[in-house]
Symmetry: none
Subunit: 224 residues, 2 copies
Amino acid sequence: MREAVAKPRVLLVEDDRELAGMLGELLADEGYETEAAHDGQRGLHLGLTGRYDVMVIDRRLPVLDGLELLRQLRARAVITRVLVLSALGDVADRVAGLDAGADDYLVKPFEAEELLARLRALARRDFEGAECLPLGAAALDLQRHEVVLPRGERITLSGREFELLRTLAQRPKAIHPRAALRTRVFADSTGESIVDTYVYYLRRKLGRDVVRTVHGLGYQIGAV
Amino acid sequence: MREAVAKPRVLLVEDDRELAGMLGELLADEGYETEAAHDGQRGLHLGLTGRYDVMVIDRRLPVLDGLELLRQLRARAVITRVLVLSALGDVADRVAGLDAGADDYLVKPFEAEELLARLRALARRDFEGAECLPLGAAALDLQRHEVVLPRGERITLSGREFELLRTLAQRPKAIHPRAALRTRVFADSTGESIVDTYVYYLRRKLGRDVVRTVHGLGYQIGAV
DNA sequence: CGCGCTTCTGAGGCTTTTCTGAGATCTCCG
DNA sequence: CGGAGATCTCAGAAAAGCCTCAGAAGCGCG
């Protein structure tokens, strides 16, 4: 269960342990909760099973290369924002990194300030406390955990209902597989049908149409 | 929001008309639909009233500075992705740009390739990997398992329908023998006529003409 | 401690998808 | 033209996926 004011969670995949330690401290000071992996294989495992708001991935990694790790994550529908760190700084390298699915690419050596600013830019959308996420004609009030209907009526959501709807609303029109939602919103030990149940709760409160089922793939909001 | 078939729309705010012209062409070549503003005031007006998928804003602008423009857009809840271009390349400048609300910050002079890659990375976020296979006038959305018709209408396919159509669409104009399709898309234990049945389903949903029968040889799409 | 709210489980029923098979229709070629 | 084989169409059974919901268990508060 997350705290009321959850810290943004970062996955740091970096084989240089000294650098990893320094970055870990830096991120902790900025209020991030960091988890670290020191090779690509471990990074892949954590990335697939863990719940992160942003990932920092070194390009040169043992066992599984950073870009290959990234491709595999993307291939398995992990849409978390990723910043790639690399000593390879040619334009071609940067283009390759971005096209492999990176959201940003920072060349070593870099200044801590810039890394932090770029992470803020990536994580900003997910942690803008004061704002609402659009939800079709309605909106999701991120502060008060309420859905605001067009007429101004407000419907309060429970913690899990809110987390689920927020996760869906962060990527409207994307299809969110059950397994991904279960990993992100619920504990891994929960039953297989927990997502179904909470979708049912949301639909009961907000109407049938808020969440669309895509048979065999998952759930989706904001479909046209 | 952008339709899958429509071109991504870019707002370009750049006072150097020569550079603006070059960028406009570059973006047009890449399939973007560009609208240009040459000062901050005009950029603000367009940004507030127009619908764009991504904005490219020069930092040094007449009338209204680029960062100030960005702040005003953000203050009025414009959440479009923004890439800031600037000749100011110090870390402090970059941090200032990102913290003003930019999603990315590219220092002049830059390579066209990198700008395009970074724009792709930004545009990707909103229509998360809307990769499509061409399908005559329509397209096959690989993420959503949907066929997107020219007018933007979407037809959802079931898992097997999608696999079959994708297999055909991967090599358009090639003739795919029944046996090959049966092996690739269905279990080996299925009956001989399973492919026929699913071709029938596809035709029923999408129209007679999507799949052509080549008597005695197999099926084909995208025939001339 | 008891009450109300939330979370989670699991079972039963419903819907969609997948697959089979059989008759109708078409194509090729002698 | 006519027949053999290929293809199309489709109803319905079986399987898989999804929805609904009651109730148990947990949590927070007075």
